[in-house]
Amino acid sequence: MQELLGRIAALDPQASLSLRVIACFDELIVGNVNTRGLLSAAASLAGCHAGFRQDHPPRTLRVTPRGELADPGEPAASSITCDGLTVWIERDGPARVNDTIILERLALAVRIRHGRGRRESDNRRELGLLLDPAVPVEDRRTAAARLGLTGPTRYRVVAAPLFAVWDDHPTGAEDVIPTPYGPIHALVVPHDHPPVAAAPSGTGLAAPVEHLHRSFRTAVVALRLCAPPATPSVLADDYGGLVGLLADTPIDADLPDVDSLDDVMAHGWGPATLDALVRAGSVRQAARLAGVHHSTLQTRLDGVTEAVGFDPFEDGIGRTRLGIAYLVWRLRNSRVLDLPAPTHPAPAVG
């Protein structure tokens, strides 16, 4: 895969290769891939041997970039040791640009694969149990205690894609959680923690540990409402009770109001106009929010009214219908979890 990374860089010098390395390891973690598989991926990405050593019981593993076993050897200079587990990559000559991220992610993945305190009956890690409402509440409390989340304090879950860029990474329980939208990086912070500077990211509603799954679900909704670069992060609190409703709406629910927005949103003016209509109390205010003339907005409003089949300003229910349809449409069409492909301009990250 080193060769593929080289091709991507040649095709698109702006592409973030570190982002792809991160996404690769996150899938390996979610897929519960074993140590040899993790080393094979690291060696393949780096184009050189990768190794692993554990202290107790003593065990060493080295693999080639083709995933074949190599003779045991000593850790290379470029290594990470944590909890008695050492991983390394054997670069001859100067380090390459992705070496650090490959080694870092390999170390994280190996630690998780060798996770401490794993339950016999359920091989998910503690945070995965805590955030799953199907797990009995007593087990969730136990998981919370193991994670150091105790007492009556309320917490929030921050949800981010695996490739998010964290300007500031708070310490807290964190893990990668599988969801229908792909693996999501979840981090738990106290309810009064200042907003987390990660893009893109969504921060869930505050909840006690027994209901932290609710915070996670609302955090994922908030995340999917992000639209970088304009809206790099979203707080579920900004949507109050609506966000819970959105979290409970199946993505394939039959909602004609939402379908009717497809044509409107396809217009260049669609997203900004709908956003203004949903937030404003009057056509005049909506025009101001959208930064267009009153008559221009009125024309667009007529178009929206025709498309959806009701006038959003006719009464309060109309605006509520439009507002909910607009939010669900944004969730359905969210691209925030897509790993940018090199055929598209990549965000300036990594």
């Binding site: 895969m1 060769e3 593929l4 990374l5 091709r7 991507i8 095709l11 698109d12 592409a15 792809r20 390395v21 996404a23 690769c24 390891f25 996150d26 899938e27 390996l28 979610v30 897929g31 519960n32 891939v33 598989g37 094979s40 991926a41 060696a43 393949s44 990405l45 693999v63 970039p65 083709r66 995933g67 074949e68 229908p180 939208y181 993505i251 394939d252 790993l339 492909a341 090199p342 055929t343």
Partner: protein
């Protein structure tokens, strides 16, 4: 989210897609052909051959309509006496790639098994539609057989091999050689072959927008080759071997394919019909495998298994 039921990708392969997707998007439309020609171009052959005891020579042969077509001959260094021969047909959806695309996987046959590999630069669609690609390949097969003495190839141990579109072309060559009384073949290696232009199998509908080479990509490839004839009554079985009604009297076939790719069903059907006709076929379906996973993620458990299994079959057929 999609509501189509489909087998999951193997976790190691799924991880590989995070990288592969940057070079090979799941859905290839005609406007992406130019991008794919850059992204799927093979690395310099000198790099691929470095450290291997392989000698390379370049030749120009008469392709379809006598037009010049390039072939490379790769032979084990210092080989003495006639060797088994392999005509290798590259992958690339009929529209991109070059004669060395994916060749690193077959080079072991040269320096480990002692075979002479002939790689043909068949002309690509859409600039060159049917029959150019398949007749360029067939011309290379006839040339290889005719020049066997000069190339140091045993005429009684000649095999065709190809992956994806190359697998389809290899299968078409085996059919044409049988029907035209052409060179005798000792085997055909069809890796996840592109056999059927009709796109009607369940697996074709299962992998839209995910993995490598989805239904849309396949339509793009077949349309580039066949134009309006795609899916209609007038498609040659040498272009789309799934169209062949008689699969008897063919050389032994080795067919491998992923369970999580669109070519799963047409590959299984081809093997099944060879058996029904009394022929010799070996079929391997790799659970969780996306299209061409051995090319894109050769370091994974699944790919190592696929490569090992294929190489063992080729050794059985080719080795002295």
């Amino acid at each position: 989210m999609t509501s189509v039921a489909r087998p999951d990708f193997d976790p190691e392969l799924k991880a590989g897609l995070a990288v592969v997707g940057g070079v090979f998007p799941p859905t290839i439309t005609p406007d992406l052909i130019a991008f794919m020609r850059r992204s799927y171009a093979s690395p310099p052959i000198e790099d691929t051959l470095r450290g291997r005891a392989i000698e390379r020579s370049e030749h120009t042969i008469a392709g379809h309509r006598g037009d010049p077509v390039g072939v490379s001959v790769l032979r084990p260094a210092g080989a003495s006496g006639p060797r088994p021969g392999v005509l290798f047909v590259h992958s690339g959806g009929l529209m991109f790639g070059d004669r060395f695309s994916g060749a690193d996987l077959v080079l072991d046959w040269v320096d480990q098994l002692g075979a002479v590999l002939v790689a043909v630069e068949y002309r690509l669609a859409p600039e060159f539609g049917d029959p150019f690609p398949r007749e360029d390949c067939y011309a290379a097969l006839e040339w290889t057989a005719a020049q066997a003495g000069r190339l140091g190839i045993r005429r009684d141990r000649l095999m065709v091999a190809g992956a994806s579109s190359g697998g389809g072309l290899a299968a078409g060559m085996a059919l044409a050689a049988r029907d035209r009384g052409g060179p005798a073949l000792c085997g055909q290696v069809l890796d996840y072959p592109m056999l059927d232009d009709r796109g009607v199998t369940p697996s074709t509908a299962q992998f839209d927008g995910v993995g490598v080479w989805d239904r849309i990509s396949n339509e793009t490839g077949w349309t580039a080759l066949l134009g309006a004839a795609r899916g209609g009554p007038d498609v040659s079985p040498y272009a789309a071997p799934a169209r062949a009604t008689d699969l008897s009297r063919l050389p032994p076939a080795f067919i491998d394919v992923g369970a999580a790719e669109i070519f799963r069903d047409e590959s299984i059907a081809y093997a099944d019909r060879i058996w029904a006709c009394g022929g010799d076929a070996e079929l391997h379906v790799w659970a969780g495998g996306f299209h061409a996973f051995d090319i894109f993620a050769p370091h994974t458990v699944l790919a190592r298994g696929m490569i090992r299994t294929r190489d063992a079959w080729v050794e059985k057929i080719l080795a002295d």
